[in-house]
Every structure is written in C-alpha cells, then in structure tokens.
C-alpha cells in the first residue's frame, strides 16, 4: 500500500483549491450573516416593542433552528435550486434565531429608568433607539452575532452538498474517499475560521461601552467587505458539470477524466442526493452518477459510454468480518443465495422504486425475495445477532434488507440493520472496529478508496472484473481479516450522465464526444 502523503504536502499541493474553498466559505458565512443581521436586528427591535408578537417570532425562529441542517438544504432545492442562493438562504435562517433573540433580550434589558429619562428629555423614539437602546444592548446583540457566526461557519461546510462550494468539498470528499488528509485539509481551516471570527468579534465586544455607539456602522461595513470575497463560479452559456465530492477526488473519477480524456468543463461540487434532480431541471448538464441508480430512469438521463475505460468495475458483494463467518458457519451460504439474481437493469428498477416511486426499501426487498421464491418466514433468532451496515443510499438499504430477511428466514440468527453510515470510510471503519458485521461494498471502491494500490498494480489489474475482484478479496483478507463473498451480479460503476434530449441534440454518446464538444467551445443549444 502506498503511504499516505502528509497533511502539509496535501495542503501545499492543493493550495489553489484550499484557498478558493476558504474564500467561498468566508463569503458564504458573511453574506448570510449580513442578511441575518439586516433582518434579525429590526425584527428583534420590533418584538421588543410588541411583546405579544415576541413569542410567535421567537417560536418560528426556534423551530427553524431545530430543522437538521442537511434537511433544511433539502427543502431549499425544490424552491431555489442548487448553488449559492439556497445555501445562503439556509445559513441565513440558521443565523436568525440567535440574532433576533439577543436583540430582543438586549433591548428589553435596558433599564427602563434610562429610556424614560431619555423620553423625559424630549428624545423621539428613533433617537432613543439609536442613541440609547441599541448602544446599551450592543454587547448582548454582539454575543448573538458571535453565536450565529460560529454556527454558520460550521453549517457552511454543508454548502458543498448543493454546489455552493466552501471547505465542505474537502471534508465530504475526504470522508467519501477515506482520505484523512483531505478531511483535515477542510476541517482544520473551518475550525480555525470559527475560532478566528469568534476572536475578532470578541475584540469588538471588549472595546467597551463607549465605542458601542460606532458599532452599528462598523459591523455592516466589515461584513460587506468580507462578503465581497465570494464569487460564484457559475458560467452560463457552457456546459456545467456537477460532481460529488467523492468523484472529484478520485483517480477513476474527475482526475481520470482530466488526465485520460483531457476533459475540461466548468465544474461544481454537489451532493449525490440532489445531483440527478439538478440535471433534470437543467441546472447541471453533466453529472457523475452510478450506472444502477433508479433516478437514471426517473429523470430520463443517459450514461455516456466510457470509451477509454477509466471507470473500473464496481461489482457489489457483501464484505463480512472473518470471525463472524467462523462463529456462524451457516451465514455464508445464506448470503451467497442472492448471487446471480440481480443484474444492472434489475438493480436500476429496484432503485427506481425506492428513489422515485418512494416505496419503502424493506417493502421493495421483501417483494423481490418473494417474487424469486427466496423468502422464508423468520426463525426464532435465538442463536445470536448479526449487525448489517449500509451506506446512505437506496441500493444499500435494499440489499441489507434482503440480507436481513434471508438470514432470519434461513438461520436461527437475528439480524439488525444499521443504515445511514455515511460514506465508504464510515462503513469500513465501523466494520474493522467490529461495530457492524457486514456491509455491501463494491469492488472498485474497495480497490481505489480503501486499498489504494500503486499505479503499476492498478495498471496490471486494468479494468478487468475478475482480476479486480480477486485482488480485492485477497488483500482484504490479508490486511483486514475481512471476507468478500460472491458478487451479487450487478455492476454499479461510475458513469457520466446527461439529459437524453440534450445528449441527442448535441450528438454526444461517449465521453470523448463530450470532451470534443467542451474543448471546441461550442455553446449551449
């Protein structure tokens, strides 16, 4: 195995990307913060005057705060599409509560004797607000802005899921690729940004009551300055590609597209969860999908032929801890039962039912087993427990649900599922740490994301299905005491996809066609 390069090497090598991601991260944080202040401050002042409205406004802002950030981004997509706009909107909503609440608390906390004497001297409401209430409430308001800033720096990492950039590109790419250096190259700058912003704002807060009078001017100017960093890398007129963080960092992904095909298209980073829809809605033209994805069918996309063979085979098979197979010898034949039943088009169809028709994965799995006459009613489950893990996408949910029913129907073992273990790295670590007993993995992923063999070794394997499987099987057993069982049958490889209509009108069938179209600078039809 090739030794992983040091963090410093990685950051130096990727300094251009690191810099642009950091700048985008600062921009996202500051723009959303600026808007949140522009909205939250007046709203906080308003509810300090109308206490009856306060509970309602604070309640709504509080509910927004409790929505998980990734879900909030999900809600944004149908409304605002992908890119900077939904990301900034989501971040803005997150920053709102601390700012409104602290403004409210700050203003209602001003000694009424002071505001009354201001009134008694003949100040009008606006003068009282700007000369008395806001300056006196400013330390509390600033504390709210600090909270919002730190929250936003954190949540902004998720912007990478919807093509808005930021340090999340490295973090999620690293998680997907099992590349610690890449994770750290995103996570450390993000943490430093949070600390830095917090420190700067604490300096402002400490400057004392007197300078609080200048704060209402100073703060917006500062934020506006920082916001101007953010330039959205969106070029209209050409093809726009959207690739997952994982794809971006892979030799058999974006890197290979660049080196082998010489493909050069404007690219944004986006989550797999929204990528297909974005392509369907013409916000993206080329995406990096999986060849068995149900949404391929749902959104009428076509895969481009990989005429230079850069995408290695990704045959799925269960990876099991050896101890478990020894402990429960009846397990292996049961797991092998599925082999041969599912080819690419069957898997696409099953995925389509879950992803698009919104049928429950366990339902789809059950129906399939019943239709193939593989289903047995569950046994007692008294002999022991097997823990099945899955990454977070439909295909894996379906597969482990099938395995669960097969295990419980054919043995006296009980099977519990742990779905949603994120990407490859999380699943693999859970398996090697014996937190799960098996999960479905793909030969190509095992090869490139986990084993990471030398270039020569890769060349030797070529893209051959059996040689890759054998290599992965042997190495996993040797290095990790993990057993690859028989492949299920389908190949869920990477593929570039386009809308069928666009691909036809541009006459693009292969990746080479795409490359030629992109480099010849043709414009979008």
């Amino acid at each position: 195995m090739e030794e992983q390069q040091s963090l410093w090497d990685f950051m130096a090598q990727q300094s251009g990307k690191l810099w642009s991601q950091t700048v985008a991260h600062i921009g996202l944080t500051c723009i959303s913060l600026l808007i949140a202040i522009a909205v939250g401050l007046p709203l906080g002042i308003w509810i300090a005057r109308r206490k009856k409205a306060a509970w309602l406004v604070l309640g709504i802002a509080g509910v927004l705060q409790t929505i998980p950030s990734i879900a909030l981004l999900g809600f944004m997509i149908p409304l605002l599409g992908i890119g900077a706009l939904p990301a900034i909107t989501a971040l803005f909503l997150y920053a709102l509560l601390p700012i409104i609440r602290n403004t409210y608390t700050g203003i209602t906390g001003v000694d009424p004797a002071i505001t009354e004497s201001a009134r008694g001297m003949g100040m009008n409401p606006w003068q009282i607000l700007t000369s008395v209430e806001l300056p006196l409430a400013m330390p509390v308001i600033l504390a709210g802005i600090r909270t919002a800033t730190v929250i936003n720096v954190g949540v902004a990492t998720l912007a990478a899921y919807i093509a808005a950039g930021g340090l999340g590109e490295f973090i999620f790419g690293g998680i997907a690729l099992n590349n610690t250096q890449m994770i750290l190259a995103g996570a450390i700058p993000a943490a430093l940004l949070a600390v830095l912003f917090d420190f700067l704002l604490s300096l402002l807060q400490k400057t004392g009551l007197k300078s609080m009078r200048k704060m209402p001017v100073l703060l917006p100017v500062l934020l506006l300055l920082l916001s101007s960093f953010y330039l959205i890398p969106y070029t209209k007129g050409h093809l726009l590609a959207g690739f997952t963080p994982e794809f971006m960092g892979r030799e058999d992904g974006y890197l290979g597209l660049k080196s082998k095909y010489g493909l050069d298209v404007p690219t944004v980073v986006i989550s797999d969860a929204v990528m297909y829809k974005a392509a369907f809605e013409k916000q993206l033209d080329v995406i990096s999908g999986y060849s068995t994805d149900g949404r391929l069918k749902a959104f009428d996309l076509v895969t481009l032929h990989d005429d230079q063979h850069i995408f290695p085979p990704y045959y799925a098979a269960p990876v099991v801890r050896s101890e478990v197979l020894l402990q429960y010898p009846e397990l292996q034949p049961v797991l092998d039962q599925l082999s041969g039943y599912i080819n690419d088009s069957v898997m696409t169809e099953l995925n389509y039912r879950v992803d698009y028709l919104k049928q429950a994965p366990d339902r789809v799995a059950h129906d399939f087993l019943v239709s193939k006459d593989l289903y047995q009613p569950p046994g007692k489950g008294s002999k022991g427990t097997v823990r099945l893990g899955s990454k977070i996408f439909a295909e894996q949910y379906i597969l482990i649900q099938m395995y669960k029913e097969l295990i419980e129907g054919n043995t006296d073992l009980k099977a519990i599922t742990k779905t949603g273990l994120g990407g490859t790295k999380i699943c693999f670590d859970a398996l090697t740490n014996a937190e799960i007993d098996l999960y479905p993995e793909y030969t190509g992923t095992g090869l490139l994301a986990i084993l990471k063999p030398r270039r020569e070794q890769l060349a030797k394997l070529g893209g051959d299905r059996d040689r890759v499987y054998d290599y992965v099987k042997n190495e996993f057993l040797k290095q990790y005491k993990l057993q690859w069982l028989r492949p299920i049958g389908f190949n869920n490889a990477y593929a570039l996809m386009m809308r069928r209509a666009q691909a036809q009108s541009l006459n693009i069938q292969t990746i080479t066609d795409l490359k030629n179209y992109a480099t010849n600078g043709s414009h979008r039809h």
Partner: protein, 253 residues
C-alpha cells in the same frame, strides 16, 4: 404657571389618580407629598406627558399641553427622575449636553454651558470626561440636575430627586440645589415622601393619598390647620424636627 384641572388616570380600571386639580404660580415650588403608591409620581409624569391623563386638562404657560408635540413639550421642561437615569455609555459632559444637542445648540455654546453648570453644582471640571459609574451617588444626582437645567427650561419636574441618597449626602445636594440662582426663576414641581423636604422646599404642598389630594395649601396650613386626622398624623411623623420647622414658619410669617 401650571394648571391641572380635574385630571384623572386609570390603569386597567384602577384609578391611580382621581380628579386632581392644582395651580402652580410662576417661580413657585409646589410639592406633591405622599406615601408610595399614592399617585404623586403618576401626577407628575402627566405634566410632561410621559403618562397621558385619562381625563382632565393640563395647561403650562397658558397652553394646553395635549395640543403640543410631546418631544417639543419635554425639551422645554427640565426633568429629574427617581433613579437619576443618566446614560451609562455617555460621559458626564455628553449626558449634560443631551437636551442642548436636541435643540441644535452650537458645540461651543454647549461646552461653555456644561463647564458653568459643573461649577455651579460643585463638580470638578475634569469630571466632564468621566462616565456615570465612576461617580458617587451624590455626584451622579448633581449631574442629573445640571442636565435638567442646562437648557434653562421655565419648568422643572423633580421625581424624588434625592430619594436614593444617604441622609448626609441628601442634605448637601439639596442645599446646593436650593441655592442655585437659576432656581428662583423656575416653576418647580417636586415629588417626595419626605415631610421635612416638603416643608423646607415647598411654597405650596399637595398632600395626596390613594390618588386624591387630601389637603393642599402653604406648609403652615397643613401643619397648623390639618383638615383631618390623616394630615395631622402624616405631618406629625416629623415632629422631632418641629422646633426647626416652627422657626421657619415664624420667619415666613
């Protein structure tokens, strides 16, 4: 000249002030005297429209105050509130300059007047750059008085201005206040629960109880000709000072 004509104030059905009428002559000092909750502060705050009366009519210098813009009205009335109400984020000089700035005075004039008022209230000149929390309670109250008087308003409203001070400080601040030359030209309404203060400072006293005026008149009237047992008992609480007060009454004739 202040005329209060049958003014009442209800808060959610509770009558805080009931049908109060009085008249304060030009240059006179009138004291609203009574226990806490008797309605004296509410009465005072109706004079500069910090509280709007439920019914009745108030006239200051011949004008019905309900027809004036509250901000304009208040800029012509000096106001000292119970807990000094200084702005903690303003220096002493900036605090004193609030009303002149509202009235768009020239900066030079403001500086000159501020310096003079600091001197008149026996505060050292370098205090102008201090913040209120760096001052003692007595010094803060002197700043509050300077702030109320700097724009030379014809009317001055004082809401227990010395109430929060210890007896020794109170006596000295009150004495310096009473000796201010500017005070002689002012029409003053003073709210207090301190009988001694009322008798010393008031040309005219309204003794209030449960929102109404029980008796009003010169200090001597209340002391020597109380209308009922309440007035007698209220003033009688201060009888240990009687000899001093008696002398003052004799001197006044």
């Amino acid at each position: 000249m202040i005329i209060a004509d049958h003014i009442s104030k209800h808060f959610n059905g509770i009558e805080a002030v009931k049908d109060v009428s009085f008249r304060v002559g030009e240059g006179e000092t009138m004291v609203l005297l009574g226990t806490s909750g008797c309605g004296k502060t509410t009465t005072l705050k109706m004079l500069n429209r910090l509280i709007e009366p439920t019914s009745g009519r108030i006239e200051i210098s011949g004008k019905n105050i309900s027809e004036e813009k509250p901000e304009t009205l208040r800029r012509s009335i000096g106001y000292v509130s119970q807990n000094n109400g200084l702005f903690p984020h303003y220096t002493v000089a900036e605090n004193i300059a609030v009303v002149p700035k509202l009235l768009n005075w020239q900066p030079g004039d403001i500086q000159e007047h501020t310096a003079r008022w600091l001197e008149q209230l026996k505060l050292p000149a370098h205090f102008k750059n201090k913040y209120p929390n760096e001052l003692s309670g007595g010094q803060q109250q002197r700043v509050t008085i300077a702030r109320a008087l700097i724009a030379d308003p014809p009317v001055l409203l004082l809401d227990e201005p010395f109430g929060a001070l210890d007896p020794v400080t109170r006596t000295s601040v009150r004495k310096d206040f009473a000796e201010l030359p500017a005070l002689k030209r002012k029409t003053v309404v003073l709210v207090t629960h301190d009988v001694q203060e009322a008798l010393q400072m008031g040309d005219h006293i309204c003794l209030m109880d449960k929102g109404s005026i029980v008796q009003q008149g010169k200090p001597g009237d209340l002391l020597l000709r109380p209308v009922n047992e309440f007035v007698h008992a209220f003033l009688g609480q201060q009888l240990d000072d009687i000899s001093r007060i008696y002398e003052r009454i004799r001197a006044q004739g």
